[in-house]
Chain length 170, copies 2
Amino acid sequence: MDLKSTIRSIPDFPKPGILFRDISTLLKDGAAFSCVIDRLAQRYPADSLDAIAGIESRGFIFGAALAAKQGMGFIPIRKPGKLPAKTVSAQYSLEYGTDTIEMHVDAVSPGMRVLLIDDLLATGGTMRAACELVEKTGGIVAECCFIIELADLKGREALAGKTIFSLLTY
Amino acid sequence: MDLKSTIRSIPDFPKPGILFRDISTLLKDGAAFSCVIDRLAQRYPADSLDAIAGIESRGFIFGAALAAKQGMGFIPIRKPGKLPAKTVSAQYSLEYGTDTIEMHVDAVSPGMRVLLIDDLLATGGTMRAACELVEKTGGIVAECCFIIELADLKGREALAGKTIFSLLTY
């Protein structure tokens, strides 16, 4: 299936000069969305991982669907102040300033193999922070998985040392 | 399976006096998360619906997992400014002030039967706004589905006229 044909490109969003790859048109196409999850399920058999963590919010969509399909646990990595129990946190750089993501400290046990999923690899900052969260709790980042990689932005360099998989590259 | 035993209760979150029902402990239990999605899949056979819409962010987790399992399309209902194409919006009341949610205007076609999913039925305001979004685009709200209903908060009254299903009630 030609998944790229289901992704819409929107110029100048969220700001001028940016060509936004809109996955909402993929998601609303049931065959395309299932195709994505099936391909990820082939790559990540249930016995190859202990849990799947998704990064808020679009990472929740793909991570949770894959986890449910594989009968695996799902771990939400969220923006600050959203998770109710004790958390670990990690910062990443924005164009101006920094932002933070959090994970429950008891979500990952030492030695757990955790797949990290987000929809988009751009500069890689958010995913690098997500790797820190898993490693702070003693977990092992099995792989960093993306639906779309924007190769020009060199996110792979920010994630040097990690195994990276992206389903589609622009 | 006793799903309630996998949900953690956290006092005084997000503010004093509130007992927060934390589904992250359900999600990280692969058997419990799969059980939730299996029960929803039994209730909503693929031929009974045309799409599943989830409300950001925790509604994404359950809605996307169910949509992928059923081979159906998934529609994200998001906070303002997140969706890149033309949207419809609806407001709902908070304790102080109002908030807004948005959906792509082309996500739903007239006559489409849309299942709306969120994790929690509290006062029902967000879900009522989500119903408005679907109806503004000519869609039909097939049902409003929740994982947890807090019966004391009378969200069913705010959703009068809609069919409501909740998996667990407190």
